[in-house]
Amino acid sequence: MIARQEATVSDSGRLREALTALAFIAPSLVVFWAFSFYPFQQLILRGLYRNNASGTNLRWVGWEQYGDVLAGNEFRDGLWHSMQFVLFTVPAGLVLGTVLAVAANRRLRGIKVFQTIFSSTIATSTAVASVVFLVLINQQIGVYQGGVPGFGSQAILENPSTAMFGVSLSAIWQNLGLSFVIVLAGLQAIPQEVEEAATLDGYGPVRRFFRITLPMISPVLLFLVVVLVIFALQAFAPIELLTSGGPARSTETLVYKIFERQTPDLLGEGAVLSVGLFGVTFLVTLGQFLLLERRVHYGS
């Protein structure tokens, strides 16, 4: 009798409340089941079978295929290319977003105009951003058709050593707006008294930035890192539109390789690659939670 619910007083009211709740979450649950959980289960299962070239004659092979694919070249290359994409886009997004946000976090006349300009790339889709970079660095129509200094004269997207960097450029530019907006929100959440106190303590602007501002926005930067990593792991349009995975398959990321495995004969392999992508995403998210957890304990 102790912990009776408050919303309604009788037991039939309680049942009705639960049924209402069920009715309210059911639409989402059905969608999630049909397009997230059921397919995920299919992925795991599909990885346990091998098949012939036409996708029939399924043969149970247990975890053997997982071992083969996850230890094989395709997964390793795909993961490495995805990681390259992460390494090019995430630090750049972090630094550029912070530079733009610090520059625009001033009380000056007309600052709103600059803030709007800095956030403007939010309006672009990955496809539009890709076309923008076709215009900038494509070997046929690019404004700049040369290579990266030190990597030969081949155009950026034609050179296997620099193509991934070229593809990343479009994502870096497209992410500018989002990175700027997120870091600016973090800066604006810093109480003004803190900055003033630091100034009174005799901190110069540079020291104030590294000793006060940066630590205070570190949770926001962590959030931005996670967002950018997940974006990078999921990138597809810039690769298809700028390089189609080439040259010499040097820009085939995990997602690109999964996309390429729609034909029945490659489904088993594609399923294992998908589970691998899930694993990487999961680890990144888990890492974020652990870091956040530590921050919470540190903060309170």
Partner: protein, 271 residues
Amino acid sequence: MSRGRALAWYLLLTTLSVLVLAPIYFLLVRAISDPTKAFTSSVLTPQGVRFDGFSQAWERGNLGGALVRSLVVTVGITTLQVTTSVLAAYAFAFLRFPFKRVLFAVFMATLLLPLEVTLLPNLHTMRDLGWFDSYQGLIMPFAAAAFGTFLIRQGFLGIPSEIRDAARLEGWSHLQFLVRFAVPLTRPVIASFSVISFMGAFNQYLWPRAIITDAESWATVQIALRGLTSRIEQSNVPVAGAVIAAVPIVIVLILFQRQIVRGLTAGAVKG
């Protein structure tokens, strides 16, 4: 700040603006440049100015049809996401039911299963349902959103408990409370999520790319843009197409900048 320092700061801001906007400038220049003369002299100014890139892109890419399809898909996805998220958020915020915490965790777990991961089996489902080249196929996988549920639930939890008590004394049913009180009181949050959802849906690439086999009659704007890039030597056409493809979201950004910023930063800064 002194005049001199303010001036220096403006100089910095202007330089950064030029860097951010330069790609867009080159895009616009190329959209109105004659592709055969584009490189004859400076790349900074349009060469052999012509505007037929836009009309050619419109016709060749069937952008009119693509825009209509994109809007149908986008409005469909946004409407469904907002509706399902509001309902689920209400249950998680205000109702008591068994396994509530587990079910909330299940909702959030879908963030780990984006379409990039579940692409292949979902395509299988589409084949079974015959949903390739269809509005259902383009819309239904996105009919629910964990992010929206989370965001709107936060909004609902911000409604003062005394207001809920006051409404309870008046005897409103849950559906009535939802429509008359909860939704109007969290309008800013719901608006933010709606705009974010709209932009995300309009800009989708991977999923439409995968389930549209008949690009002629089913391409969305982003997929039509891909079609235009196949003849890249006529550079003004695909580039003009990109400009057209960006217009709807630029309009949305101009109209709803505040909501967008609030939605994008909702996870980053508390309160």
